[in-house]
């Protein structure tokens, strides 16, 4: 399995401190971001991530390369977060689509309050950076389960099967949570960018 971190892992096994700091630079902020989707405060998130790094150096011998290093790292983080009180998926509230969404369709199922175009700028790079900045600002507004799946799948690019394994949820749950997260994030962005 090709692993972008393979060389660093090898060096770290050999006791290379530089490999450790490179991995920290590469992942620490992302681990904090993921931990923040699972535990209630920034200070708990910091503790969880510090515990994760400790577990990494102590347990590196047990990493066999059957998954990527990133997946193994995220798995440790999820376990540490659960130990620190992150709630199990069965406790997640079944937050569905926004109530107001149904009202945007008439009785026949046609849009009566259709989506407003977000921008007419032709510079895609400016638009892309702007929208990314807004997504980041609104991540905390997603409900817990949706937030975790959205960050893992769309922000971090982890595959569907791996996310199910990491979080301990079914494929069906994962699909529903991801779609609701995306739809809700679009709704939030629309309020800022398109309407009113």
């Amino acid at each position: 399995m090709s692993d972008a971190d393979a060389a660093l892992v090898l060096a770290l096994r050999a006791g290379d401190e530089g490999a450790f700091t490179t991995l920290v630079r590469r992942y620490h902020a992302r681990l904090l971001r993921l931990a923040a989707t699972m535990v209630p405060t920034p200070s708990v998130a910091e503790e969880v991530v510090q515990d994760t790094w400790l577990a990494v150096v102590r347990g590196l011998d047990r990493f066999e390369g059957r998954s990527t290093f990133k997946t193994w790292l995220f798995r440790i983080l999820v376990n540490r977060a659960r130990t620190a009180g992150a709630r199990e998926p069965r406790t997640w509230s079944l937050e569905g689509p926004e109530e107001g969404f149904e009202e945007r369709f008439d009785a026949g199922g046609h849009w009566q309050d259709p989506p407003v175009q977000w921008t007419d700028t032709v510079d895609d790079r400016i638009v892309a950076a702007d929208v990314a900045h807004r997504v980041k600002a609104h991540l905390a507004e997603l409900p817990e389960g949706q937030r975790q799946v959205f960050v893992l799948r769309d922000v971090e690019g982890v595959g569907a099967a791996e996310v199910c394994d990491l979080l301990g949820i079914t494929q069906g749950n994962q699909r529903v949570l991801l779609h609701r997260a995306r739809a809700r994030m679009r709704d939030i962005l629309e309020l800022e960018m398109g309407r009113g």
Binding site: G15, E17, F20, T21, V24, R25, H28, A29, R30, L32, R33, E46, Q50, W53, L54, V57, R58, F105, G108, G109, H110, W111, P114, P115, Q117, W118, V127, A128, A129, V131, A132, R134, V135, K136, L139, F150, D154, V155, G157, A160, R175, L178, H179, R182, A183, M185, R186, L189, E190
Partner: protein, 83 residues
């Protein structure tokens, strides 16, 4: 979800778009959705906004690594190595 009508209305299209975005829509539903999109600017805009949202998510930058955090972790590592 099985759709018995040949033609998709907007409310149904929005549901189909979920699986369409993941490439997991069965071929027949995909054709029905695409036929609807070809004639519906609103659902086309909705799909474009969903794609923009997903692409933007992939570009979200993590916060900068605080120097103190790196120092703390390096110290942690050295202590562990020394043990």
């Amino acid at each position: 979800m099985v759709l018995r009508r040949r033609h998709v209305v907007c409310r149904e299209a929005v549901d189909l778009i979920a699986d369409y975005l993941d490439g997991s829509l069965p071929p027949r539903d995909r054709r029905r959705l695409e036929a609807h999109l070809a004639g519906c600017e609103h659902c086309t805009e909705y799909l474009a906004q969903m794609r923009t949202t997903i692409e933007a998510a992939g570009r979200v930058e993590p916060d900068d690594l605080a120097p103190e955090a790196l120092d703390e972790l390096t110290e942690l590592y050295r202590r562990w190595r020394a043990d």
